[in-house]
Amino acid sequence: MWASILIASFGTYVEKLLGYLLPQGILERESVRRMTGLLPVSLLAALVAVQTFASDQAFLIDARILGLGVAVVALLLRAPFLVVIIAAAASTALIRWLGWMP
């Protein structure tokens, strides 16, 4: 675990550093600019889906989907980050405690 933490930390730091050391011309390449803008959208959307519906390698619908729904409502109401997350966790915990969803 420690090795992967160090490698990932070093790698993300080098990514930041590279930007200050690379020649500016790279910015002018439209495809590079587009791709670095779209990568977080793809990865974060996929992470939302997988962390909501995956249980190891099985597709599973459980109380997490309620938490995600509550998070969407909170975001539409422009709630701050921490409120979004606490609302999602609390609603999920509540519905499990009530025994309505696993």
């Binding site: 990932a8 200050y20 439209e30 992470l47 966790a89 509540l94």
Partner: protein
């Protein structure tokens, strides 16, 4: 650092920069509470969790790293996912270079503080190079301090619980990713937002279809192909053929 000088000339703007920087720091610090808790719930120790906030210091990558580990995806996929998410920091640094013009010895800590929030503030206060620098460093330092305090409180709090799952922390993880994704889907022009939604929905759909076939973590990596395909498609259509 540079922003201590020049107080007399632009005290009002400096105060506005500092107040905003402090507010952003406190808000992300509150968010770090959930990172600390989720990281410990995913199986990392308090010290490992803190190391991520001290040295990686880029929220989305940190969340993704512990998310993949917690889902059983393994170290390699966790590292690759964190690096792919961190690639945007290279782009930030590239565009910040001419604005901040860091001296050689300033580059190491300037790089560490290059994140979503400090970049946004540097470009928001673009009236002068001094203002941009002050906005960047005040925001970067403020977020760094509060992000690490929040991480420590969150991880220590969660490690005191016997079963974090009872608190719905497994649902806090996708909600956290959604909260990070949301501004990217709603901040641009309506045509830009539509493109972002298309990429997001296609990526989520692809990842979900791949869940049964690939080991945990890999479906998310494969979804990056959607971003690659979309960027090639859209940059080709947005300019004349024959360019390099």
């Amino acid at each position: 650092m540079g922003w201590k000088r020049n107080r007399r000339k632009s005290g009002g703007e400096n105060r506005s920069i500092d107040t905003n920087a402090l507010g952003i720091g406190i808000a992300t610090g509150a968010y770090a509470l959930s990172f600390g808790a989720i990281s410990v719930a995913s199986g990392l120790s308090v010290l490992q969790t803190q190391s991520l906030s001290l040295f990686m210091f880029t929220g989305a990558s940190q969340f993704a790293f512990v998310g993949v580990i917690g889902a059983g995806g393994g170290a390699v996929i966790a590292v690759v996912t964190a690096l792919l998410l961190g690639a945007r920091n290279s782009l930030y640094a590239l565009s910040l270079g001419p604005v901040l013009t860091p001296k050689r010895k300033e580059v190491p800590y300037t790089a560490l503080l290059t994140i979503d929030e400090s970049t946004a503030m540097a470009f928001r206060y673009n009236a002068s190079k001094k203002a941009s620098r002050r906005a960047f460093f005040a925001t970067g330092l403020s977020v760094y301090v509060f992000w690490n305090i929040g991480t420590a409180l969150g991880s220590l709090g969660a490690s005191a619980l016997s079963d974090p799952g009872v608190l719905g922390l497994d649902a806090a993880i996708p909600a956290g990713f959604l909260a990070l994704l949301w501004p990217r889907l709603t901040a641009g022009s309506s045509s830009e937002n539509r493109k972002m939604w298309t990429v997001a929905v296609a990526s989520a759909g692809l990842a979900m279809m791949l869940i049964p076939f690939l080991r945990p973590g890999l479906p998310v990596l494969f979804s990056a192909l959607v971003a690659v395909a979309a960027s090639l498609m859209w940059s080709k259509s947005s300019r004349p053929a024959g360019g390099n």
